[in-house]
Amino acid sequence: MHESLSIRVTTYALLAIFVFLVAVPLFWMVATALKSNKDLYEDFSYLPTRPTLQHFVRVITREDLLTNIRNSFVVATTTTAVTVVVSAFAAFSIVRYRYWGREWVGRLILFKYLLPTAMLFIPLYTIVVAMGLGNTLKSLMLTYLSFTVPFCTWMLMGYFRSIPPELEEHAMVDGCSKIGALFRILFPLSAPGIVASAIFSFTLAWNEFLLALVFTSDHTTMTIPIKLSMMVVGDQYIWGQLMAGAVLASVPIAILYFLAQRFVVQGLAAGAVKG
């Protein structure tokens, strides 16, 4: 009985520490965004004493952050739409068809899923410049596919494997074509996996930093991560606006995550971790 009590105390004490460690930076981001510059740099206080939205207004009017948010949004949705279609077909092909070289494609996809962008950004940069796509959003939409497609294909392969092929075989006996079985049986049954892969693809594209930093150089073509990182070096007293921008950049991802937490955990369990 004593041991179990001491374990309960330790558990809750550790939990409190972890919650504190996670909460402080998040709290500080929001608190900074809501403080006035006077509260930030002159009269220091832990809580925003006179909460104000002025940093949000300034970051939108002076820094034109909505343009960058729109850029991020356009790139992430385009990438996601293409990724989901392309990788669902690829995963279906690898899992349900029999042909030579199938295993090698599976291996290549896994290899790319593991190969970091840091290895590829120099040649991708020269390719993008050679194609005349330098400093365009198109360059991002195109190159982001190089990591979203392998990731989502790998995830969906795991998901499709978990669904017994007999269901599609029955449909095909009843006169459905293989592609018809894909749309009528496999896709509806793997809806959680497909939603999860779309969310991951959107998140990966929204958060991508290195390629966007290398490819775009203009305030009108920058995605939000690059714009915010450029603001850091600009002004000493920019932190209120920067944290307001950081909050705005996190909101879409936070909403997606909480709407679809169940799908994400399921999809991750089926695809990425278990393999």
Partner: protein
């Protein structure tokens, strides 16, 4: 006789089969390949070609706008003689080892706590996952602000409770820069370890713990002899996977220190960026990443084998 005729009649479709059967197979192959074609094109154009091109670049004197010429090992000789390169090797190793160790310990501790019967477990699980859900660039901007020597929270709180007498320049002091970057990176990434380990722990049968309890095994013994062995596979995959990701981390360095002060946090990805994009020396930049390639391929093959072993089992 009649039986014979019938057997022939039955045999007829079978003898016709060899002509029809391959066509069904071919159709199946073609269908499969058609579905795969877009992905294959993407992989060839955006992964395999750049990958090979990067290796060619390392042996050339290409700059943006001019076609390069083969220059043999010149880039490699130049890079290897550069003090910045050896700093990058050391820093990449230090950063990777420290960050992975902290994330592992923290992730395991969080997983163990979340695996207990606690109130509002789902809420706490979702909450402790937040750093990993947040965009990485947001996290590192927030930490840069937390570390700020003039108005940052950490300095203010430490001064407030009297731990330090004067502000610490966490990110611009050689002695604290690397540690500060590692902490920020670990904060953002430990939840991945936690959820992976937690998922693994939940597949371990409760009966094992119950019978260990009956035998009077302490919690620590239960952890060593039941929990850890049950997690071996997941630990292996997570460690290899995240070692690759950590060794290639770019954002924490770029957003927190930019590789400074005086190369104290210059990791190899930052060096490739500085050389290739800021100084436009594509050949040398490609040579740096090519030199790190064998290590990376080794790690990647390790994960591939581990994951496929599991998939086949």
């Amino acid at each position: 006789m009649a039986i014979r005729h019938r057997s022939v009649a039955v045999a007829l479709p079978t003898s016709a089969r060899p002509t029809r059967w391959p066509s069904v197979r071919t159709r199946e192959s073609l269908g499969g390949m058609a579905l795969l074609a877009p992905t294959l094109l993407l992989l060839l154009g955006l992964v395999l070609y750049p990958f090979c091109y990067a290796i060619w670049l390392a042996f050339s004197d290409k700059t943006v706008g001019s076609p390069g010429q083969y220059v043999g090992l010149r880039n490699f000789i130049y890079v290897l003689s550069w003090p910045q390169f050896s700093a990058a090797v050391t820093n990449t190793i230090v950063f990777t080892v420290c960050a992975v160790a902290i994330k592992f310990v923290l992730g395991m501790a969080v997983a163990l706590v979340l695996n207990q019967r606690i109130r509002a477990r789902n809420f706490f699980r979702a909450f402790l996952l937040l750093p990993w859900v947040m965009p990485a660039f947001v996290v590192y901007l927030v930490w840069r602000w937390l570390y700020d020597p003039l108005a940052g929270l950490i300095n203010y709180a430490l001064l407030d409770i009297g731990v330090i007498a004067s502000p610490i320049a966490f990110l611009s002091d050689r002695s604290t820069a690397m540690g500060s970057v590692v902490v920020a990176h670990a904060w953002r990434n430990f939840p991945f370890y936690a959820i992976s380990f937690l998922a693994g722990m939940q597949t371990i049968s409760q009966e094992l713990y119950d019978s260990a309890q009956v035998d009077g095994a302490s919690r620590i013994r239960q952890f060593r002899h039941i929990t850890l062995p049950g997690l071996y596979h997941i630990i292996g995959v997570v460690l290899l996977l995240t070692t690759i990701q950590t060794a290639n981390a770019f954002e924490p360095i770029y957003l927190l220190t930019g590789g400074g002060p005086s190369d104290a946090t210059m990791v190899y990805t930052m060096l490739v960026y500085v050389m290739g994009i800021m100084n436009l020396r594509l050949g040398e930049a490609a040579a740096v990443s090519t030199l790190f390639l064998p290590l990376l391929v080794g790690l990647v093959l390790g994960v591939t084998m581990l994951l496929q072993k599991k998939a086949n089992a």
